[in-house]
Symmetry: C2
Subunit: 295 residues, 2 copies
């Protein structure tokens, strides 16, 4: 399979939650035949109503498809979906391409790629950034690791889901890039919280302070997009605390394994752990402002 | 003085270094009569050649001017220039406006405003962000504290030097806003360093990683503008390590006085102290990447 088209290519999508459902929908709308599976079947119903076919297991999806995508929750879910008895690799067709879009462990991505290769299947790791809003608008950043020719083959599919699709290198490189992304976010979250907390306690109007600082050298996506939510006491999840903690733990483990210091990341992680312990793990990451005690 | 114009208003500028010289030049070019002073007189020569008049002391400048600006180095310099025997306040005309644009201590700004008020002079604190590039292009962010009517009176002058001029509140509020700005920068610098260090050690191409991460939720001015300098081994000062350390120390002291935690700021400050101790204090802040040991 060297050309990807709705006429020749059958697609699968496993994990049709808040991210997966809109991503899969972009593929469906482009005219592709789509097989889907989700742990909670009811959450795939809207896609089935729109023309997708439901399968009982990840393996059943993969058996029918040329390219199978998955975006699930945590690394154990990835392991089960890809390497389990009823998983993708056990049933994939030789020559097919399988893609994990979950944010997960880089070494698990390498392990999946090796297991796939043993069955003449090509695995890519392609985690995303941009949240449910990016998923719905097809504007995700997609960071891809694995065989370059497989990436080239399915780039038109990535382009249906993402606005910034970048090949990063061999298996695991997509996950490593996502870790670099989450590491950058971790300390930038502290930057926002400490700046807002300082402004408030100094007797300033934080909104007016943002007018001065958010467009200059102190500016960040976080300050522009999340600080206003904090000022509105809006802690609804764009990105869940519990998922960010998972990501930071993977990044900390990988950094430790490489022997590199990450004092900012470790400091930020402790603040998020504190917030999670106080019952905020299902809130948006901006709720970390509450770790500073006075918001 | 309620209207500011080249015909009616005489201006002073003290501190004509890498920031002050281009800022003063915008005033001169707008047609204002300008008196200048600098500790090292030779660094005011270009302004004198362009039409400014040199004075031997800050007080001599202030005695001649309706509005006197200063941008010098450290809080002791501010104290000497404003409160010293040959300083601005000792010689200012009643009804004149004096403006400290140095990044300095908020409580020193309050002290200067009180000393000025006792002589019927109005003091504003108006630190800037944007570096020498912003100073040259007239695009500085200017954060202003002090009497609102004095701010309104000289807003046309601020607008000659800045692109984002915002009134933040009573005396000291400009300095507090600048501290909120520097606090935001501090942790965002760690975000950049740790992300790049991770990417490099994970075997990725940091430049390609930036393509994936700099435009999304991990994005920041720092990542967009300073990370490429790091990748080019360019540590020339846009903003000096030694000045940033001064600012962070003021922010830490103020935060401690308010009783608010700043774990990110404190962690970042330690990294910059390390770099300064290793001889990098006259480099640009992006050199803090070297605190991570492997760049």
């Amino acid at each position: 399979m060297k050309i990807c088209s709705p006429e020749k290519t059958t697609l699968g999508f496993i994990g049709t939650g808040v991210m997966g459902a809109p991503m899969a929908n972009h593929l469906l709308k482009a005219g592709y035949q789509l097989y889907v599976h989700n742990r909670t079947a009811s959450r795939a119903q809207a896609l089935v109503d729109a023309g997708a076919t439901y399968c009982e297991t990840p393996g059943e999806v993969a058996a029918k498809c040329d390219v199978t995508f998955a975006i699930v929750g945590f690394p154990p879910d990835v392991e089960s979906v890809f390497l389990g008895d009823f998983g993708i690799i056990a049933s994939s067709k030789p020559g097919s391409i399988i893609v994990d879009m979950t944010t997960s462990k880089p070494d698990l991505a390498v392990q999946i790629a090796a297991a796939a290769a043993a069955k003449n299947v090509i695995a890519l790791d392609a985690p995303v950034s941009g949240g449910d809003i990016g998923a719905r608008s097809g504007a995700l950043s997609i960071m891809v690791g694995g065989a370059k020719d497989a990436f080239d083959t399915i780039l038109p599919l990535f382009d249906l889901m993402g606005g910034n699709v970048v090949y990063q290198g061999l298996a695991g490189s997509g996950q490593h890039t996502k870790m670099a992304n989450q590491i950058a976010i971790a300390s930038t979250m502290m930057a926002m919280c400490e700046s807002l907390t300082y402004a408030k306690h100094a007797g300033l109007d934080p909104e007016t302070v943002l007018e001065s600082i958010s467009k200059g050298a102190a500016g960040s996506w976080t300050l522009t997009n999340l600080a206003p939510r904090v000022l509105n006491d809006d802690y609804a999840p764009g990105f869940y605390v519990k998922h960010f903690i998972k990501d930071m733990q993977i990044a900390i483990d990988c950094s430790a394994a490489m022997g590199i210091p990450t004092p900012g990341l470790i400091t930020a992680k402790a603040l998020f752990d504190k917030i999670a312990n106080e019952g905020f793990e299902d809130k948006g990451t901006q709720v970390v402002i509450k770790a500073y005690g006075s918001w």
